[in-house]
Symmetry: C5
Subunit: 278 residues, 5 copies
């Protein structure tokens, strides 16, 4: 029952975008969260920690007997189950798209240490022991910073009036963003103006590209982690081209490096898909 409500809420929230959760106070990091994590809620709340890590499987994994590798997925799922009250985990298959990784994990938790505890246990599985981590980015979710009802009354309605209406997303893309010192030394008004110019051309893509933002200044060597889901990579390319063409692009000290792209799969599919080998 709760599960159905969560799914419904999740659909609503995905449609309006995670930014609709703006203006709520940051959740107490140490709050006890009884029972399995509410996926819809954690994916739309501010004050949530997002952890993106990519991995390559070492060749020695494929030297193991196939019978051992067949059991790898079950062991991984047991670890996910053990931590289900503290974290939720999304998995993506990146092999074939990017040289730097075979798969990507996205972990959400109200407590950063809970994410670490999960990843420590994951790395102790057969699959994890044979994986090398190649990138790891952490961030925290917040309410809307710029295009709020108050600060940008002309643009804000556009952000919430259009919802994702395309096929279910098949691809996820992660792009870290670091802004230059010049950006951060602009006044609040100047940055708001730039972000309005940034936001306007993106409204046209609310229907076919989902987005979620994580803040990382100080927590990592990036200011933001931008996360996208889509079924239409051509549309995604057009969205990012439109962002390249606004003046805010001049303030990018890092935009990508790496850009991570994967297909959205269950963790079991990812482990099974990567466990085959001569």
């Amino acid at each position: 029952m709760n599960g159905i409500k969560a799914i419904v809420a999740s659909i609503i929230l995905l449609l309006v975008g995670s930014n609709a959760a703006a203006q709520q106070p940051v959740t107490d990091q140490t709050a006890v969260v009884p029972g399995p994590i509410d996926r819809a809620k954690i994916l739309t709340s501010p004050g949530v920690f997002g952890n993106f890590s990519t991995y390559k499987i070492r060749p020695d994994y494929y030297a193991l007997p196939a019978g051992e590798r067949d059991k790898a997925a079950a062991e991984v799922l047991a670890v996910v189950g053990k931590h289900k009250d503290k974290v939720i985990v999304d998995a993506y298959l990146t092999r074939g798209f990017k040289a730097q990784s075979d798969y990507l994990l996205r972990v959400h938790a109200y407590d950063m240490a809970a994410t670490q505890a999960f990843l420590i246990d994951f790395r102790a599985t057969l699959f994890g022991v044979h994986s090398d981590v190649t990138e790891n980015l952490v961030g925290i979710t917040k309410g809307l910073n710029y295009i709020t009802k108050e600060k940008s009354p002309g643009l804000n309605p556009g952000l919430t009036s259009t919802s994702y209406s395309a096929e279910p997303p098949r691809y996820a893309i992660v792009i870290p963003v670091k802004k230059s010192a010049e950006w951060w030394n602009l006044s609040d008004e100047q940055r708001l103006k730039e972000m309005e110019a940034h936001t306007a051309p993106t409204l046209a893509f609310l229907s076919n590209v989902k987005r979620k933002l994580y803040h990382s200044t100080g927590l990592d060597d990036t200011d933001f982690i931008t996360y996208f889901e889509t079924a239409d990579l051509a549309a995604f390319n057009s969205l990012l081209l439109s962002l390249a063409k606004v003046p805010e692009n001049r303030y990018h000290a890092r935009w990508g490096n790496p850009t991570v792209m994967g297909t959205i799969q269950t963790f079991e599919e990812v482990v099974r898909g990567l466990s085959a080998g001569h």
Copy 2:
């Protein structure tokens, strides 16, 4: 019969260049493509995904008995056959030209996930398991952006009136291109003017260098993947020198890094050529 028509169409299309396919609507990514992929069509259509991946063979491959390595090519070809309704694969031998790789694969598909499925299966072969991927770039084909009949009536005819007339190409070169924020913040008119200056000196090389363009903004840490085929490397050097001398060069944030060069071979030749070893 179909095969012959495909070859003829392919020759025609190669002669006029892939840009001649401009202005067609983007193909539905999820369209079912029954039977083997039509090579001529997919190489000239917009909305097609191109995937470039380079590999180095690990030393442990050469510790395998020669008899096992002798069977590697057949296993690879079987995987290509399994996916022939979804992807086409081109292979290039790069060892001896570039330190970063031993071979390059170029895969085309109407669906990016189909490319991934093929590459996952390829990596599970004996040859794939002993290969480390060292670079992977993805892009999508589009119609002409700038030098169209409408926007640049003076220059467009030159692009189509001259065709490749030299010996069959023996070499392929892949050069990623990323443009600066300054470039993307130019007006459309300014960029058109720059691209006209970029295109004019290249017309002289239509007869001896083939070109194909992939768009990657957002999909990868590059804006374009430029792909060339030629039998005349001195001419290719002259073409790229002429591109260095136009003002558009000032807007390159990345031009190469890596430049990938290989000889055009069958996949079987590539696997066999790299399977010999003391």
Copy 3:
């Protein structure tokens, strides 16, 4: 008795921040320090060497019998005990946060060679032999440079009047800082003015983020190592955002790269936590 006094002193010093130890003469590096190092004193004295090193555990560690790995922590603690008259050691678990490391060590000593002697012995343990060092930064503590009672009478009281009053820190963050030639070529007065602008917005975070500064010019490829402890990562993110927004940010030649984040643990916990594995 001495232990209790040390703890009390330590609490006082942690509350006022390490900068309160300013203006003392630099300790003689070769002074004999009999008995265990006084933790509170060394953590607040100028002229102390701080050594930050990060490590990744090699996969072959997990191929060792679990019984051998079970004894790893005891061997490491014995090495710490052997050197307790010369160095103090803090350990942090970084796996799951950063791709570049599994754990971080912070070592303090009055003599840099004593730190080296400890680390040489540590690397000879089973755990150390199976660890690869991935980063190593060294620095020296000094008294306050800019915001002293004399130079900045308006701002100095703020630094000492507020003390850390939040929950015990759970996380440590290490951020190297290198300033540009332009910074170092400013006059003393200009740098003081910039540092006042840098310091003002940070006062608000004295209550929930602890800080400690190490000077590295010439000793390493960084000018400073900034070390933070907090229980509130959202507050830490806000603190670093406020530092991004001051003009001094324009003089950063390096800020992070890497940013290292870990959970504060005992050395035993770190070794045990990383010794589990399939």
Copy 4:
């Protein structure tokens, strides 16, 4: 007949230096070259492909029985002999000078694919299988671009009137050069003027430093490969200092990175010298 003329031309070219070969049409790449390559001719002709590759020997080579390593040189020489009608090979010992490599190979051929065929066979030898390639640069020789009799009548005679008269060279140095977009966007006259300023101070070193130039734009991530031989490293240092002091230095986007230095040895000496080991 043609062969004798080529030899005569070759001798003339060796005397005046390779740059004197300017203004000749580029040699047909696919020309059949019967019998062993004419070393003097290929080293002074335009239209020749130069291939520079550096290698490090993997540690497992030294785990082989010394008896096996003793045979490595003979196997390598047999491969050189097999390809002697298509390529010439020079070898240099770099271990002890540069961390990135143990040895350097320079291969010349009229056909780039012939170079690849040789290097593929070389890598299949015992010595090659245990070598990792760490850098690979390719280029093509051309006639003089700037300081010709016609364009720079004042400076050209200086290039040809002085010849190398010092002891036989013992060292070779390879320095890749990439010029900025600003350089390539200068007019031909401006670049000529800069190259005259570049050339003038180098005349003094014609007697003790030999030079050879390869053009790489588009073929690699460099515009030029500059190759030097000398017996006098102090003079070479002075020559490069004089080049640092001309305005053209401001247009360097890459100058070195890596600078490769080795002692000039026979291929057999290089293999034998690197095959000893505990």
Copy 5:
């Protein structure tokens, strides 16, 4: 007797600094140097080649029986002895200070090839075979360039009137320096003026920091290798801070990267210290 004289000469030369050897003609590189190298002379002569190489020990070294490792130092010392007529070798323990290396070797010779011959033999020892070289910089010594009696009569006496009078140095620091094209395009007078401003604040540290300079333009991807010895790391930090504050700092294209720091030890101590391991 000769040994005592050499030590006395060495002390004198160390006191006045290596720059006191200025204005002598460059030694003939091919001169036969009979008998063991005169340490004091080679360390103060111009025209001497300095070679700095850093190494990391591979993990497989620690898998060797302890009994084998016990013999490693003797084998290394025998190699040093074999080459004592051609090179002198200094060793430094860097493990625990820098992630990039475990030890540093500094080799001086009148002939660069003699250095290579020594390093080739060293790498063939048990200890050398298990070492990976991680950095290698080469340079040549020269007489003073700027602050000579003639060019800078006001500043030159200061360089020679103060001598090192502190405790024997315990630490060595190596910092590569590359200057920008702007620097080299200054006039001789401008560079002299900048170097006077550079030198003035360093006079205060002649008493506690020893320095030696190597010139590398063209020989390596650096212009200079600066070498320091000190017992007082706080003073060294102050010296480098004073150098950061002069305008010449604006012309640094590279300053460090890496900065290498080690404790001064005998080669035997270095090998023994790094040969212990579980």
